[in-house]
Structure formats: structure tokens, C-alpha cells
């Protein structure tokens, strides 16, 4: 593998110094999809159509907890143009199987269409296909469902009580995780100070600008084919199970996504579309509305995190005891895995000799929660970083110094008992962001206060090692020397396809303009696994690197014979293979190879490192590696309104090696924008399971005026486990924003918020409470 690059000194290295060719790699690479995007010509999932296609809609429950007594579809069927009205009884196998944890948590099947019971507001109960969208919508309004309302439970703590209404047969406690190292109780007793605080995060929507969409048809080979906006083409297998078809009879093609962020990791429209296509034998298109997406699409888990931390007077952590409760909503989805990630990351980038982390995912009658950029490991950043600041405050120490005294290093053990086996650059990142904020801004008005804060984080990349993750790829040369890459990766807009062209090009010397990357087709591209868990650069990137090297070693003897040199003397660059001043075009090499029966293509599989994890003891190997970073922010708080403006923002991550520094910066900046929205404004508010609004106007994602320029710094400090030493960067930068801003707000106005989002109302309440408290002390 490619990680045998010598670790650099743990000093701060500017990107341009860190690798001599960084500027070349950072140069804009105009991969085809980006050209089409700015031209407006890239087809997204909603941009394909067929003559004679039908239009599908989902009929959704309008209450969060009920028994379905009867469904009468006769009026809906009578609408002219309606071709199918399907309910649970029409689904061949009405259960989405998912044992997501990989560690034997009991699987609970989620129905495709609710059969006898509704468990959340917006749950699908029927699907309709009609000749026009209007007819489908009219019919949807005529599906008559008779409900018997049942008591619901909406608060995770209440859901854990013995007398709470059970949402599933096994009760509401879905999964518990527990990891510990050392003797936390004894260590806690030995501490000079024990700091106990509780932090709360909220339910968040992905708010990708492209709503869930796609089209399905039965192709000329008889295969049920879906072209959808999805992160995971491997769902083809689940769709086949639902329809009781052989896996080989279902094909999923992923279009370029208009954003995903984890929200298109579980299936969206696929099972509904598949049912309608299979039943009508007609092409069917389905697009969810924004309001439907806000109502019923799976969200980020709200967490309640109780941290008890024992420290010495000098700020050294001696014991860390964490308890996390996550609201899974009505169905399991990926909750077991999200809470697992939360558990093993809850102690952050700090040494823990004696620690215990426990977590529980709880069923409620709220909209289900599942994957979202950061995946459990981002919520806990608000917990452990707020806790570090609180420790510094109580001990009268510099918060940066408290962190310096506790940062993990390579070789240290995590709470799971596993060692960290790559270099840790979190300290360098922290020093860098603290130095980068520049001179403080001046307040803009008499009620305005300026404050600064920072936060550090670690976030895994790659799937948990016990999944024994694999990714395959195929690379071939055409007779004219152009290159074809086939890999089942899906592209979220982060340049997943473009990166593969860059990596293969670096080995084979074929330029991006002479490369075609075929991605995301479960029938025709070797499977890589989905685009999630910040795994694609690690997995498909390593797969493509492995295949490219293998193809190069196949071509080298052919070229060496023609150029009369040793294979090791050859260089592959700019579509030529050369030695000294003699060279061949890639076309000549490809033709010569084929002529000799050396076929110029290779298919291979990259296997990630594997390991075992014991669910009972909570010990073993969890994630392959981590990306570390630190953010610093300056805010202005208006004490009269509670309004927070972010004035400056610096984010720095150790990316090991950047395949494209520009795309690294883009990932950091975009994640920060989402992190700021999560910190200050975004909240899917439910009242007894029912959203207070499903308007996009009420869901406040940051606009251009809500953010300052985000200074993104990618350091190439410690090689990671991705191709050429890269570390994943898709998810890591979303975690630190909330605690960095909480810290900045505290610096500005003296109050610390422990609940997200930190809205003007909450901040005003806290300011008033603080004034009241200090007033009573004074009197």
C-alpha cells in the first residue's frame, strides 16, 4: 500500500512546502462533470424522462402514532389516468432488512409501506402512479385511511421508562454500546476536580438543494432499472429482496447528486419507484417536494450528552465518563452505527487512561434519524470541547494549554483499548488557527460585543474495520491511448469521479481530458460500496491506485522492449511513456500491448484493513484512521437582540496529502457552513412528533450573508491510510463549529450555551438569567 511515506516532523508545514508538487496537484482540474455543471448541461436525477412515463407519488400518514384500521383506495383508483394504487398488501416482501451495526444488533424490519401501524408523521402508507402529476396528486388526496390514534412518545428519556408506549415489540431501547478502559471510578475519586455538564444537540435536515428524485423502467434486457439520486447503488439488492426478484434482475444507476451529505445513503424513492415500475411495467418518474423532504426524510440524531470529567489541578484529564442518549425516531436505519461512532469518538483527541462511554439509541414516534455528515462523531465534539473549555474556566487555565496537556499521540490507546497507529496533527492545527485570526475586530454598535473561540476534533474516515470493507475498480486503455475507469462510486459533488481520474493519471500519465470515468452503475461498474463514511477516497481511491499500478506494471515491459531500456527507467507523463528523449504515445503502447496479447486493462479489489470488535466488552478495533483539525472563530454578539454574527472563521485540518488542495478547501468550507447552521439556526422542531413547519422558509440554512469568508487550511503533516497518504476530509470539518462558536459567544458576553442551536432567543434567555443571578449575588 501507499502509506509507507516517512512521517514528517510534527512541525507546522505550509502546504506548498509540504510537498513540492502541491501546486501542480492544487491546480484546477476541469473534470468533465464540473464543466457540465457550470454550463448547466449536467443531467441530474430529475432531468431524465421517457415517452409514456408515469408519475409517482407517495401517500403519507398525517399523524405520528396510530393503528391502521382500513385503507380504501377505490376513489383514488377511479381518478382518470391513475394506473396503480399500491398499499402494504401489494408489496411482495414488505420489509427493509437492515442490521446496520455489523455486530449482531437485533434487526427490526421497517415496512416499505405501513401495514397495520403508523409510527411517525409522514410515514408512507400508499404509492400511486398516474399518467400526469396532477392525476397522481388528486388520487393521493382520495386514499382513505381509517386510523385509530395511539398514544405516542416523543422524548427519548420518557421513551425509556417502563410505562412508555412500546413503538416496536422489543421496546424502545434499541441498542446500547459501552466501551471502557482502566478503572474510571477509582480514577474519578483521585481527581482534584470533577466537572459534570450536560450538552444537547438537535434534529437537523440535510437540506441538499436537489430533492429526492429519479426514474425507473424495465430495460430491454428485462432488468428493473432505476436511475436515482443516491449515494449507494448497492441498494439494488435490497430492492430485489422487496420485490422477491433475483438480485441480478435489479439495476441501480446513480446520477450525479445535487448534494447528499448522508441523506441519500439510506434508500429514498427507490422502493416506491421499483414497486410502481414492476406493477405497471411502465417507466415511472418520482420527485419528492421540498416540503415532503423536510417532513419525512430522515434527519440527524439529536443527542443528550452527559460528560463527567475528572482532572488534576494542572488540567490533565484523569477520568472521563460519558453517557449519550440518541433519538433514533421510529425505525432503526443506521442508528446503531451512528451511536457506535459516537461512543468510540466521545473522548475526542485526548488521552484517556481511565474512561467509560455508554450510549443508547432510543425509539420514539419522531421522524427517523440516520446518516448525516459527521455521523455521531460530530455531535460529541460539542460535548468534549465544551467540557475542555469548562475545565479551563474552573481551573483558571488557558483553554489551549489544557488541550496541549491532553492531546493524544500516535501509540496512545483509545477508549476501545486500540492504539492510534498514525501521526496526530491536532496540536499543529490548533496552533495554526489561533495564529490566523489576526487582530480583533471592533464592535459595530454600543450593544455589540466581540468574542473569540476555538475547538479541536477528530473524525474517523472509512467504515468500521469489522466490516472488512472492499472496493473494486477497472482501468483500461483504448487503442487511441485514452483511458477508461470503471468504479461503482457515486458522486456527491465532492469530485469523487474527478479524484479517480487524478489518481490514475498520476500513475499512468494519462491526462484528465483523455480519461472517461464511468461511475455508479450496479450492473456495469465494479462495486466500491457507497459514498459515505468519508470512505471513497480511502476505498475507491486506493482501489484505483492499486489497479493503475498493476496496469502500469503490465505495460512497462512492452514499452521497455520498444524503447530498449529497463522498465524502471520509464516515466509515464502527459500521455506518453518515455526514457530520456525517446518516447511512445500512450496509443502506441496500448496498440503494441494488445498486439502482443498483453491486454491493456486490469480489474482488482482493494481490501481495507480489518479487525475484530467485541460488542460485549466494547473493546477491539473500531475505525481505520482519523482526520484531526481545529477551528477558530470571531463573533459579534448583539446583547440587546441575542443575534450572533460570525465575523471571522479559520479551519485547519491535517489531510495527510491532498489529492486536490482546492477540493480539500472546498470540503472544509462547505462543512463549516453546515456546522455554523447547526450551531446557530438549524432545527427541525417537532411538537409531539409533528413538525411546526415544513416550509424551507422556516428551516434556516446559512445564506451568503450569514457567513464570513471561511479560511480553509489543509496541512500535509502525517500521512494517512488513503491513496498516496491522503486522509479523508468529507466529514471531519463539520464537528468543531458549534463548540468554537459557543466558546466565542462566551468570550463575548460571558454566558455558555449548552444546547443547540444557539438561537437569539436562547442567548437572550441565558443573558437575562445571568444578569438575574449576578444581581442576586450582588444584593
Amino acid at each position: 500500500m501507499s502509506t509507507e511515506i516517512a512521517d514528517r516532523d510534527a512541525t507546522i508545514v505550509a502546504p506548498e512546502q509540504a510537498s513540492p508538487d502541491a501546486s501542480r496537484r492544487g491546480a484546477p482540474v476541469h473534470h468533465r462533470d464540473f464543466v457540465e455543471k457550470v454550463a448547466g448541461t449536467l443531467p441530474y436525477a430529475d432531468d431524465w424522462g421517457f415517452p409514456g412515463m408515469l408519475h409517482g407519488v407517495v401517500v403519507r400518514a398525517q399523524l405520528p402514532s396510530a393503528r391502521i384500521v382500513a385503507i380504501d383506495t377505490s376513489a383514488a383508483r377511479a381518478v382518470p389516468g391513475v394506473r396503480a394504487v399500491l398499499t402494504a398488501a401489494d408489496v411482495p416482501h414488505n420489509g427493509i432488512h437492515d442490521e446496520a451495526s455489523g455486530l449482531g444488533v437485533d434487526a427490526i424490519q421497517q415496512p416499505v409501506l405501513a401495514a397495520d401501524r403508523v409510527r411517525y408523521d409522514g410515514e408512507p402508507v400508499a404509492v400511486i402512479a398516474a399518467e400526469t402529476p396532477g392525476a397522481a396528486l388528486e388520487a393521493a388526496g382520495l386514499v382513505d385511511v381509517e386510523y385509530e390514534e395511539l398514544p405516542g412518545v416523543f422524548d427519548p428519556e420518557e421513551a425509556l421508562r417502563d410505562d412508555a408506549p412500546a413503538i416496536h415489540a422489543g421496546g424502545n431501547r434499541y441498542v446500547d454500546w459501552r466501551s471502557s478502559i482502566g478503572d474510571v471510578d477509582a480514577a474519578m475519586r483521585s481527581a482534584d476536580l470533577v466537572v459534570e455538564e450536560t450538552y444537547r444537540s438537535q434534529r437537523v435536515d440535510h437540506a441538499y438543494l436537489e430533492p429526492e428524485a429519479g426514474i425507473g423502467w424495465i430495460d430491454s434486457d428485462g432488468v428493473l432499472t432505476l436511475r436515482v439520486s443516491t449515494q449507494v447503488i448497492e441498494h439494488a439488492r435490497e430492492i430485489a429482496e422487496i420485490l422477491k426478484l433475483p438480485h441480478s434482475r435489479v439495476r441501480v444507476i446513480a446520477s450525479y447528486m445535487g448534494g447528499g451529505f448522508g441523506g441519500k445513503e439510506d434508500m429514498t424513492i427507490e422502493p416506491f419507484l421499483a414497486l410502481l415500475v414492476w406493477r405497471t411495467r411502465r417507466p415511472v418518474r418520482m420527485v419528492w417536494t421540498r416540503q415532503e423532504s423536510l417532513l419525512a426524510r430522515y434527519k440527524r440524531h439529536p443527542f443528550t450528552m452527559r460528560y463527567r470529567t475528572g482532572v488534576r489541578r494542572d488540567g490533565t484529564i484523569v477520568a472521563q465518563d460519558v453517557r449519550i442518549v440518541g433519538d433514533a425516531g421510529a425505525y432503526p436505519l443506521l442508528s446503531s452505527r451512528v451511536l457506535f461512532a459516537a461512543t468510540v469518538n466521545a473522548t475526542g483527541p485526548y488521552r484517556v487512561q481511565d474512561a467509560r462511554v455508554e450510549s443508547t439509541a432510543v425509539f420514539t414516534n419522531n421522524v427517523p434519524t440516520s446518516a448525516f455528515r459527521g455521523f455521531g462523531a460530530m455531535q460529541v465534539v460539542f460535548g468534549y470541547e465544551s467540557q475542555m473549555d469548562r475545565i479551563a474556566e474552573l481551573l483558571g487555565l488557558d483553554p489551549a494549554e489544557v488541550r496541549r496537556r491532553n492531546f493524544v499521540q500516535r501509540g496512545d490507546l483509545r477508549v476501545t483499548g486500540e492504539p492510534i497507529d498514525t501521526g496526530v496533527g491536532v496540536g499543529e492545527c490548533m496552533e495554526r488557527v489561533l495564529a490566523e485570526l489576526g487582530p480583533p475586530s471592533r464592535p459595530s454598535g454600543p450593544h455589540s460585543r466581540i468574542g473569540r473561540g476555538f475547538a479541536c476534533s477528530m473524525q474517523p474516515y472509512g467504515r468500521s474495520v469489522f466490516f472488512a470493507d472492499r472496493a473494486s475498480a477497472w482501468i483500461g486503455l483504448e487503442q487511441d491511448g485514452t483511458m477508461v475507469i470503471r468504479a461503482g462510486v457515486t458522486d456527491l459533488g465532492a469530485g469523487q469521479a474527478a479524484s479517480l481520474a487524478n489518481i490514475a493519471g498520476e500513475i499512468l500519465g494519462v491526462t484528465v481530458d483523455r480519461t472517461s470515468v464511468h461511475i455508479g452503475d450496479s450492473a456495469l461498474t465494479p462495486l466500491t460500496g457507497g459514498t459515505f463514511a468519508t470512505r471513497q477516497l480511502y476505498m475507491s481511491g486506493n482501489a484505483v491506485l492499486k489497479v493503475a499500478r498493476s496496469l502500469r506494471s503490465k505495460l512497462e515491459p512492452v514499452a521497455a522492449a520498444l524503447l530498449e531500456c529497463e522498465p524502471a527507467q520509464l516515466s509515464f507523463e502527459d500521455n506518453r511513456v518515455s526514457v530520456g528523449d525517446r518516447s511512445l504515445t500512450m496509443a502506441e503502447v496500448a496498440q503494441a500491448a494488445e498486439h502482443q496479447g498483453v491486454m491493456p486493462y486490469v480489474h482488482e479489489t482493494f481490501e481495507a484493513e480489518t479487525g475484530e470488535f467485541d460488542r460485549e466488552t466494547g473493546r477491539g478495533r473500531s475505525f481505520p484512521d482519523y482526520t484531526h483539525g481545529a477551528h477558530a472563530a470571531e463573533v459579534e454578539v448583539d446583547e440587546s437582540t441575542g443575534q450572533v454574527r460570525v465575523l471571522k472563521y479559520v479551519a485547519c485540518h491535517d489531510v495527510g496529502r491532498a489529492i486536490s488542495m482546492q477540493r480539500v478547501e472546498g470540503q472544509i468550507q462547505g462543512a463549516v457552513a453546515q456546522g455554523v447552521g447547526y450551531a446557530l439556526s438549524e432545527d427541525v422542531e417537532l411538537v409531539d412528533g409533528v413538525p411546526s413547519s415544513t416550509l424551507f422558509a422556516e428551516y434556516l440554512i446559512p445564506s451568503s450573508v450569514d457567513l464570513p469568508d471561511i479560511r480553509a487550511i489543509g496541512l500535509e503533516l502525517h500521512p494517512g491510510k488513503g491513496p498516496l497518504g491522503a486522509r479523508g476530509i468529507g466529514e471531519p470539518p463539520i464537528g468543531p463549529s458549534a463548540p468554537a462558536l459557543a466558546s466565542a459567544i462566551q468570550d463575548a458576553v460571558g454566558v455558555r450555551l449548552q444546547r443547540l442551536p444557539m438561537t437569539p432567543e436562547r442567548l437572550l434567555d441565558a443573558l437575562q438569567a445571568a444578569r438575574g443571578a449576578s444581581g442576586s449575588v450582588a444584593s
Binding site: 462533470d33 464540473f34 441538499y208 438543494l209 451568503s704
Partner: protein, 162 residues
């Protein structure tokens, strides 16, 4: 519902259609005028994804009725440059990675072009305000502003040389 005959120009080409009174300009463009580059983001006029220029002014095409555009000229992102070519602003988005998933890009480009045409020397903060009605969920806006500023500067250099 009575149908209406309308005629308009889309990127300089005549388009005529018979439409329901409640049809949106967005639906008209996507279904009758081959305008798949105009994207639906929210349908509430909030996100700006569906922005087009109507007689040179940006509108949310999801909230504009098709019947309102009878006799008027619509510009979509494909009207910025000749077929097969890129406008320098589009080039700047490419060079500066102002586009990630690309879904907001058509609307973003049109708003930026409109604003700079009227305010050729707009500074970064003015540009930031001008984009406030066009949401982007991927980039954090920083590289979008870098791209627009680069285009502004390049254009000013050209006009100085002229």
C-alpha cells in the same frame, strides 16, 4: 380551466405554448422549452435555485406564472454563452471551484452576472449581499465569491485595455 396561448423568447429563441393559468415559469421552461438547466429547489421562492433572468432581472421561476412571461425574454444559464462555449464567469466558477454539486450553480451564475452588469465595481461585501437569495449547501460561498471577484477583475482589466 381556460388555457392561454403565450409566446416568449428563451435565450433568444422564440417559444410558444398553450398553458394552464397556474403553470409556473419553471414548469414551462422544463417541460415546453427544453430548459432542464433550470432546477427546482424548494418551490417556495426561498432558495433561488430556479433563478432565471426575466427581461434581464432575476426572478424565482417557481413563483412566476407562465402567463406572466407572455411577450417577454427569459435568460437561463445556457443563454450566457454560445452553445458549446463558456462565458468568462462560468470559466471563473470552474477555475475557482465555485461549483461542487452544481445544483445551485445555474441560479448563482445568473444572479452574479446580473449584479455585476449593473455594478461592475461591486466589492466583495456587496457581492455577498447580492447572493443572499441564492442558497448553496456545498461550498460555504467563499469560492463562489472568489470566482465572481476574479471575473470582475478580469473584466475590468479588459475594459481598461479597451
Amino acid at each position: 380551466m381556460s388555457k392561454h396561448e403565450i409566446a416568449l423568447e428563451v435565450n433568444g429563441r422564440p417559444v410558444s405554448a398553450t398553458v394552464d393559468p397556474n403553470m409556473s415559469l419553471l414548469e414551462l421552461l422544463r417541460t415546453e422549452a427544453g430548459g432542464l438547466e433550470v432546477k427546482l429547489g424548494c418551490g417556495e421562492g426561498v432558495c433561488g435555485t430556479c433563478t432565471v433572468l426575466l427581461d434581464g432581472e432575476p426572478v424565482n421561476s417557481c413563483l412566476t406564472f407562465a402567463v406572466q412571461v407572455d411577450g417577454r425574454a427569459v435568460t437561463t444559464v445556457r443563454g450566457l454563452a454560445a452553445e458549446g462555449e463558456l462565458h468568462p464567469l462560468q470559466e471563473a466558477f470552474l477555475t475557482h471551484a465555485g461549483s461542487q454539486c452544481g445544483f445551485c450553480t445555474p441560479g448563482m451564475l445568473l444572479t452574479a452576472k446580473w449584479y455585476l452588469d449593473r455594478h461592475p465595481r461591486a466589492d466583495r461585501e456587496e457581492l455577498r449581499s447580492a447572493l443572499s437569495g441564492n442558497f448553496c449547501r456545498c461550498t460555504g460561498y467563499t469560492k463562489i465569491l472568489d470566482a465572481i471577484e476574479a471575473y470582475r477583475d478580469a473584466r475590468q482589466e479588459v475594459s481598461v485595455v479597451d
